[in-house]
């Protein structure tokens, strides 16, 4: 009887033969993802400077060529990601299910099965993080300094504003502001209504105005977002402290922790109250900038501002 017991104990310590398959799958999976990551990096590092150059050289107002290529680049990244996902389902999860149904959870070896899954899934997450990273780097190629474009519009306006003449009497008409759409301008000499058609660059002011205003107030947005993050950070810090009290019996230590926790909670409540205020400061500043850039849209923008405050 005792011999039987020992034998079974021994056999449990031996690594089962199916473990080799799990190990092999895991190794393959790790090296597969490594190769995909290398492809991704190689592709993205080659694409980024090209995209930047394309954006600079694309004379089209809507940058259509750039956007087509940009969308194609993202398509390829996405294709790599899908490949990883499909393979994960097909080669890892299916193997896991197979052994999970075969090996009892009471078996000493079951942890080999669950470890396999955890290792593979952690590796997959690491891959996904890399994907996110490259995706963000690709996204950044869209950013352009709108101040440069804005200056172009302003200098164009300076050169044309005094060159517009009345179609009827030939009198000089002064264009007193940047018009965004076709507008009637009446002649001060003969009262004829002249149609002023803004240039393509001039019209584009409407399209870049908001983004330019956002660029100018990005630091305020960041302050607001930091405050939102702070609330979460404080919450987690508070939570960790509260867990630490579970096995603590020393009253003075407990007391100290309690004081710290109260302080954290106070800070957290402050962040909760403060975040909406910072948001309002940001939005107000952003809309002020926007109104400065396109004063004609002020009435509409102010309604949008009030709507946005509500949400």
């Amino acid at each position: 009887m005792f011999g039987l017991f020992n034998k079974s104990k021994q056999s449990e310590e031996v690594v089962p033969e199916w473990y080799a398959e799990l190990q092999e799958s895991q190794e393959r999976w790790f090296s597969f993802l490594e190769k995909l990551e290398a492809k991704m990096e190689e592709f993205a590092t080659a694409a980024i400077p090209e995209l930047k150059q394309l954006l600079e050289e694309d004379d089209d107002l809507y940058k259509r060529t750039f956007h087509k290529v940009y969308s194609g680049v993202n398509g390829q990244l996405n294709n790599i990601r899908e490949k990883a996902r499909d393979t994960y389902e097909e080669k890892i999860i299916s193997v896991y299910y197979h052994y999970n149904s075969k090996i009892s959870v009471l078996s000493k070896h079951h942890n080999l099965v669950s470890d396999f899954r955890n290792n593979c899934s952690d590796r997959h997450n690491a891959f996904e993080n890399k994907y996110d990273y490259w995706r963000k780097q690709i996204d950044k190629t869209k950013e352009r300094d709108l101040e440069i474009e804005y200056q172009k519009i302003l200098s164009e306006f300076e050169t044309i504003k005094d060159k517009f003449k009345c179609t009827q009497c030939g009198g000089n008409l002064t264009i007193d502001k940047i018009f965004l759409i076709e507008t009637y301008v009446s002649c001060p000499f003969c009262q004829t209504q002249n149609t002023f058609t803004p240039s393509t660059i001039g019209r584009n002011l409407q399209n870049i105005a908001r983004e330019l205003a956002e660029q100018r107030t990005a630091h305020l947005k960041e302050e607001f977002e930091n405050e939102v993050d702070k609330e979460r950070d404080l919450y987690h810090e508070h939570h960790t402290l509260s867990l630490s009290t579970i096995h603590e019996s020393n009253k003075s230590v407990l007391n100290e922790i309690q004081i710290k926790m109260e302080d954290l909670e106070k800070q957290r409540q402050f962040a909760i109250q403060n975040a909406p205020k910072l948001r309002q400061i940001y939005l107000r500043a952003m809309y002020d900038e926007w109104n400065k850039i396109t004063p004609d849209l002020k009435e509409h923008n102010e309604k949008m501002y009030l709507n946005q405050l509500k949400y």
Partner: protein, 320 residues
């Protein structure tokens, strides 16, 4: 999953709704069979409330349960904010509706669509009623939203905007103002009535007498394909999948559809809106999943085709 996939189409994906719980979409087959065989509850065609109770009673019951919960939360020291209150009401509305009508989640979603303006302040495509007193719908230079939509349809179908202005009998300058003011109203209207109604008109492919003779050129084949995507949902899903795949391979998808199937962007979008509106009105989660799967499958097929044309994907040589 549905909110994510289709939220943008139902018009209720706006911020304040993001806090709501996701729609429950799995249906008990038993319930479905039961529903098909025997219609236990009669629904009001407008409000989709059961006719065996009054709307006032329903609202009162929801309020009673929600307020009790809110009071409870507050009593235990919780900070109940406006968005929490909306969530609580939203959930109790679902609970009471499902309880009182003994219905499945599809019926519940249809009910939510029919009442989205009343309960959440946001319109759902397919359920907008035109209110003559809505200042956002006041005509601009005598042009109402329906006519503006008809003009947009012509222009996005490829008719020159100068032609459209001529047919309407006004200066291009008027069009520019229309095309500024209507979009501004869409932005300002937090109930999304202007936007949703524009979409509904777009789906109906509305026209006005002045514009009837103004048509973008369409080939016989294009016309046949257009007629087919209007009636054959699978064919529509196939082209939608193909278009998406095209964009992923750096191809202008809208142009690709025009080149290969003769359907212009305006007509395609109009049909897309038509299917979405139909989907909102006859919400059925099993169908929605089936169509979505079909579109994805087709997207993959076309992606493989585009990839082959471009000499493959960059990671094709990486194997497990």
């Amino acid at each position: 999953m549905f909110k994510k996939l289709f939220g943008s189409l139902t018009g209720d994906n706006k911020q304040e709704n993001q806090n709501y719980e996701q729609a429950q979409t799995s249906n008990d087959n038993y319930e479905n069979d039961y529903d098909n065989e025997y219609q236990e509850v009669e629904y009001d065609p407008e409000t989709l409330h059961g006719t065996h109770y009054s709307v006032e009673d329903f609202d009162a019951e929801v309020a009673r349960r929600a307020e009790a919960w809110i009071e409870d939360e507050r009593a235990s020291g919780e900070n109940v904010e406006e968005k929490d209150i909306q969530n609580i009401y939203f959930n109790y509305r679902r609970e009471v509706y499902t309880e009182w009508n003994n219905c499945d989640s599809d019926q519940m979603i249809r009910f939510e669509h029919a009442n989205s303006l009343k309960y959440t302040g946001i319109q759902t495509s397919g359920f907008v009623k035109v209110d003559d007193n809505n200042p956002f719908l006041e005509p601009v230079h005598g042009v109402d939203l329906r006519t503006y939509t008809a003009m947009c349809l012509k222009i996005s179908a490829g008719v020159d905007y100068l032609e459209v202005c001529k047919a309407m009998g006004f200066e291009p300058i008027v069009w520019e103002e229309l095309n500024t003011i209507w979009p501004q109203r869409m932005g300002e209207d937090t109930s999304f009535t202007v936007t949703t109604l524009f979409g509904q008109y777009y789906a109906e492919n509305v026209t006005v007498p002045q514009l009837e003779n103004l048509n973008a050129e369409i080939s016989a084949e294009g016309q046949a394909n257009l007629d087919r995507i209007k009636t054959d949902r699978y064919f529509y899903e196939e082209l939608a999948g193909a278009r998406q795949a095209a964009y992923e391979y750096g191809i202008d998808g809208a142009q690709w559809i025009l080149d290969n199937f003769g359907i212009n962007l305006a007509d395609f979008q109009s049909v897309a809106m038509q299917w979405m509106t139909e989907q909102n009105q006859n919400w059925n989660s099993a169908d929605i999943i089936a169509f979505s799967d079909y579109q994805q499958e087709k997207q993959k097929e076309y992606a493989a085709k585009f990839a082959a044309e471009q000499g493959g994907n960059i990671a094709d040589d990486v194997n497990f």
